[in-house]
Symmetry: none
Subunit: 252 residues, 2 copies
Amino acid sequence: METITADQYYLVYNALSFTIATMASATLFFWFGRSQVAPAFKTALTITGLVTFIACYHYFRMFESWSEAYTVTNGVVTATGERYNQEYRYVDWLLTVPLLLVELILVMRLTRAETVSKSVTLGAAAALMILLGYPGEVSAGIDLTRLVWGALSMIPFLYIVYTLFAGLSNAIDSQPASARKLVSIARYVTVLSWLFYPVVYFAPFILPVDGAGAKTIIEVGYTIADIAAKAGFGVLIYLIAVRKSEEKGEAA
Amino acid sequence: METITADQYYLVYNALSFTIATMASATLFFWFGRSQVAPAFKTALTITGLVTFIACYHYFRMFESWSEAYTVTNGVVTATGERYNQEYRYVDWLLTVPLLLVELILVMRLTRAETVSKSVTLGAAAALMILLGYPGEVSAGIDLTRLVWGALSMIPFLYIVYTLFAGLSNAIDSQPASARKLVSIARYVTVLSWLFYPVVYFAPFILPVDGAGAKTIIEVGYTIADIAAKAGFGVLIYLIAVRKSEEKGEAA
């Protein structure tokens, strides 16, 4: 295992801890919000909270794993020989990314048939995207393996982005006026926060960093992307649900 | 204890952790859903959540037990001498499998007499199936003991499959139109996800694997079957309960 500096160690350590607190609070916020929206939007908030709940669990595991992989004594970092279990991120995404898409679809209030078909196709594309990215992430270094699997993973990614932009644009027109802008923002936030993941994935190819630097960028980068895509996006979903509940005069 | 590779160790490790997160989220989803269905279906969702709650507990124990049975230092796996407690799975099934059947029967809304008699006979058959499979699972190897007890366990298994298909087909005809298809799907999901357990049980007899390979296949295979039979099946039960609540116009 390459040696990281104490600064790099603590940067990742504190980013992971920060995210445990963020995800836990976001979860509680979304679940408390369930009582303040119309019945039609309760499931969307349940799932929004589940996404941050699952992320909180995995950030807790990552924090423990990171702490066990290194010891820092008098500012000197030593690898303990225990492996930092990077798979927690992929396991997390496999669960949360399809749920994130379902949460956006649910808050749109499409017809039942559209809700089911969009949830299934987008959810499957998201799972495929993550499974294709994984072999590149765990390959030995910043090499061709990472590049090829990363490129393959971009195919379902682009399909999702296209579907969100083109396919759901009609749905946006049918939203009540007060929520239309928020739904449109949510769509952009999805795409932009998601774009951050491939940027982090491919960053080590471009930036002049060594193995330890690449590792630090990847850990901190994915953490920022997760906060934006899960907690930040969730707040938008919450606002849309509240706005649409008011519109219909059906708030609980 | 046979030596497993680091890849095998981490595959099982991550599958167990993934399942803790899945079962915990499924439990919360089902229990939050209680407030969104008619009173007649609240018990079905309570039990659906109990099944995944019990599974979450056992997966947490299995994860701890697996972590304590091996140490991995610089990619080399060493058995610590502590035993991985496989019995957690059988203890889990003894509780959850009869509950799974009760949950399917409850959501069907049969007459009270039928509900009781089917719950008792199917629940007892399920318990017998698990008790008969156990001596084969813990026998020293992939041998005659495993084969004989596995075969005996198939008798109550086939009885349950037969009862679900033949005995409950009348009940399906009496379901409201909007839920009939979902109930029928739930019946098939039960049988298919359950069939996965004997497939995993007998797989080491057919696949060209050593002891460590067999162990990995059994752990990962049962994990996939548990996710499908408990969380996946539970989502179907939830959808049936919501659909039937809407049908009756009696949603809470």
